[in-house]
Amino acid sequence: MPLKTSSFKKEMFKQDFRNVGWISIVYFIGLMFTLPLQLAMALSDDVIEAANYGMYPKDTGLFSSTFLFEIQMILLFGLPVLMAVFLFRYLHVTSSSDFVHSLPIRRETLFNYRLMSGFVLLLVPILLIGFIMLLFIGFADVVDFYNIADLGNWLLLMIIVSWFVFMAGVFVGTLTGLSAVHGVLTFILLLFPMGIVALVFYHISFYVNGFSGSTVLDQSIPHLSPIADVADFSSIDAGEGFIPVSYSVLGIYVLITVLFYFISRFIYKKRQLESASHPIAVSWLRPVFKFGVTFCFALFAGMYFGETQNTYGWIIFGYFFGGIFGFFLSVMLLRKTWRVFSVPQWKGLAVYGAVAALLIALIPLVFITYENHVPASGEVKGVYLGTSYYQYDEYMTSEENQLIESEDTIETVKVLHEKLLQEGDPLKRDGERIFIAYELENGEETYRSYQADLARLQEELDAISKTKEYKEMNNPILNVDIDQVDRLSIHAPYKGSNIEIVEPDKIAGFLENVKKDIYQLPYQRVNGAAELGSFVEATINGEEPVHFSLELTYLNTQEWLIEEGLQEQVMLQADDVEYVEVYEWQHSRDLPPDLAIEQMKESGKVPLRIENADRINEMLEAPSNQSNGAYLVGFYLDEGRGYVNPVMGVHENDAPEFVIEALGNEK
């Protein structure tokens, strides 16, 4: 920074220290409490703690729970903003602004002095704590807590993020003229990129069938906000030298800090000082602010009503409600009075409404080619079919990342895709999710994410589920070499039993039957397992264990289990169930099944009671889940088991005939 030593003005620093030195001191005391003090406490009760720290998973490093990571984050994001607010408060009060700017010092120089004060006052407490922690390494045994690499990373992150947040605060400070607004806007700025992208993508997904943006982004969206990015991690099992965000992200923060410096310096030099005490000091930014707030509130309310009601009518209502609310809120803020309901304001709102309505009408048109696009056969190199991007991402980073590559199977997926162009319904939030990823010959990837009623896709899904490749993609156990499996452990959660199989010939017998069964399964069974089944962990020589579920519908396997005399131990069967109660699940749908069934009982509804063993068996075999469905099924186990009675949701097309006949269907 262009500071000539000859004209160095120490009184400026003195004044800044008198003004905001306390923030530096609070930062120091806060960090003192979270780091050295916590360490001293942990070291002194070594009997209990030391035992814990030898344990797995490890929770070490200076960002661990020992050092109160949450409080560190509050300090890290709170105090630099406070520093910016107080350091630049002189700009927001007319009398101090006039005083300072009448002095013989150029705005740029003044700005640099203030920044230097802020940077130094944030740096000093971090360095002091760093030094204290270094002393601990020298004089105490702290290897269980952190090492020198951890300390280096801690210093790096704290300094860069503190400066970055401070600089963001300074940037906002040059745009606003009110200190209260300054603080709030800084946090909004730090969260804004994440929030707006999420909101916009979420809304596009309401209108565009197959839109994959929101699901893809769900994974990477925290990276758009430093607050979410830094705070969203777990130090559990983080390993040595762990840092919450990568070095490259820290590099990006440094770049943005530099960018903020130049932009805010430019704005400051151009700033009209008479705008002190105006919420938005830069006049061209006021309409941007006004309509930005309106837009965000409209999207937010639209999302709320869309999520709760799942109809376009309510979404549009949300836009109206949120838009009007946001618009007047922003005008009130800009005018600093609540009496803003004048005719010109309504006109402004009407213009905004017209533009927004046009935008909403245009979105589906813009995406029309996107919606109807199915890659041509020649272009496709490989394809993935599953339920979510998350699943796809996991699969691709695992060792078994083989896509479907045979032409026939790709063709069957494309047939399904074509059908989804019609059958997919973005508002069918309780429908099943289908995720398709194409890897194209030119190296590009195409993603689509649909929600649809699987019953209407039966034919296409059956065609896919017959293919070997699809099965192998979704069932890692199919790719396992049986000879490599050392041990199988089968766990039946509702029976509370656990058995292990270690004999090689038995392992082979079991797995061969499982593979045979899986190759025969229909589509639903591949993605929607019955949660009443048992779980198997196959330990493989020198590799990650493979998990899969074991169900009553795996007929070959069940037969084998009976032959081996194991079925009794590992499967929940009709014999174990005294009776089953089935309710039509109409209200309290947002409750988990076990609570919902209690409400049903209290409301005096009469359930369908099943005591016949065959029918109980059918209920056990039906794919069920813990979150939703057309029917609520309570299984009441034989008395004296002492285990929880499972309550499940069953979708209409998964329910046995006799249930549908007895209770009627939902629609």
């Binding site: 120490k10 008198r18 009398s95 005083f99 700017h101 013989p104 010092i105 006049s283």
Partner: protein, 299 residues
């Protein structure tokens, strides 16, 4: 020294200054007059380079003053609402100024301590309003500025202090040719120190006058004639205003002192007196219609 040329300034959509032009000579004391909201403070904030005009030029010593560090070194601005750094004592403030102004004169500062008799180590916020204004003068004068800009400087000062401050200022003007720009809504407050005045009304400069010229140029006289009064009223004299009080004629006449005397003596007056004229009267009589507006503006 100060040259303001066709300056426009608006805050958002409010026009505050419109085509304002005025000039202040080096070593002169210029009084900027105007009612509340006329734009005086805004004009002063432009002159000291706090604000930037939308168009026109604000020059001090033939240099644009906005963001001109060297020029601002030679200027001190005392605003209407005084501001001191929070929790600062006079001593702290003095150090602050000393650091910022190369021309800071410590000797002067020490000397003025005796003049103002204020505690140097007391927090300024604990002083009364009038004392705070004295502190501001104390600090400003110690900076030895070439240009001193004062917005409503005498508010809250008692008569003794007012006199003291005035003499300090005039002394600097006389000794080192300091230029002073003073704003006030009260003509009487500044008439005895200013040599020039300008009247700002609704963002425009209504008029500018040299007070010495003005005082030498306009006279209030009282005459009693034995003969016809009409003759004198119809003469060449530039009579701005007259009033008959019985046989006595009261006139405000513009022109050279000697010429007027000579002209009057032609009519052989029985009584011929000169009466003192206040600045306010001069404005009112000289400007006629516009003068009544001034009467409303300045009181």
């Amino acid at each position: 020294m100060i040259d303001v040329c066709k300056v426009h300034k608006s805050f958002d959509n409010d026009k505050v200054l419109h085509e304002v032009t005025f000039h202040v000579d080096k070593g002169s004391i210029y009084g900027l007059l105007g009612s509340n909201g006329a734009g005086k403070t805004t004009l002063m904030r432009l002159v000291v380079g706090i604000l930037k005009q939308q168009s026109g030029k604000v020059m001090v010593n033939e240099e644009e003053v906005f963001e001109n560090q060297d020029m601002k070194q030679r200027m001190v601005f005392l605003p209407d609402a005084l501001y001191f750094l929070p929790q600062y004592t006079v001593k702290h403030m003095a150090n602050y100024y000393k650091d910022l102004y190369h021309s800071w004169n410590e000797e002067r500062y020490q000397k003025l301590k005796d003049v103002f008799q204020l505690e140097e180590n007391k927090k300024i916020s604990q002083f009364s309003k009038g004392m705070q204004r004295q502190v501001a003068f104390w600090l400003a004068m110690s900076c030895m500025p070439d240009v001193l800009v004062l917005d409503e400087p005498f508010d809250g000062l008692d008569a003794v202090m007012r006199k003291k401050v005035r003499s300090l200022m005039i002394q600097d003007v006389a000794e080192r040719d300091m230029t002073v720009l003073i704003s006030s809504h009260n003509l009487r407050e500044v008439e005895d120190i200013c040599d020039h005045v300008g009247i700002l009304h609704k963002g425009q400069m209504l008029l500018e006058r040299d007070l010495d010229d003005l005082k030498a140029d306009v006279h209030k006289i009282q005459v009693a004639l034995t003969g016809d009064q009409e003759a004198i009223l119809n003469s060449d004299l530039d009579i701005l205003y007259y009033e008959r009080r019985g046989s006595v004629l009261l006139m405000i006449v513009k022109g050279n002192d000697q010429d007027i005397s000579a002209a009057i003596h032609q009519y052989q007056p029985v009584i011929f007196d000169r009466l003192p004229l206040t600045l306010e009267e001069i404005f009112i009589y000289e400007l006629g219609g516009a003068g009544y507006a001034i009467e409303n503006i300045l009181v």
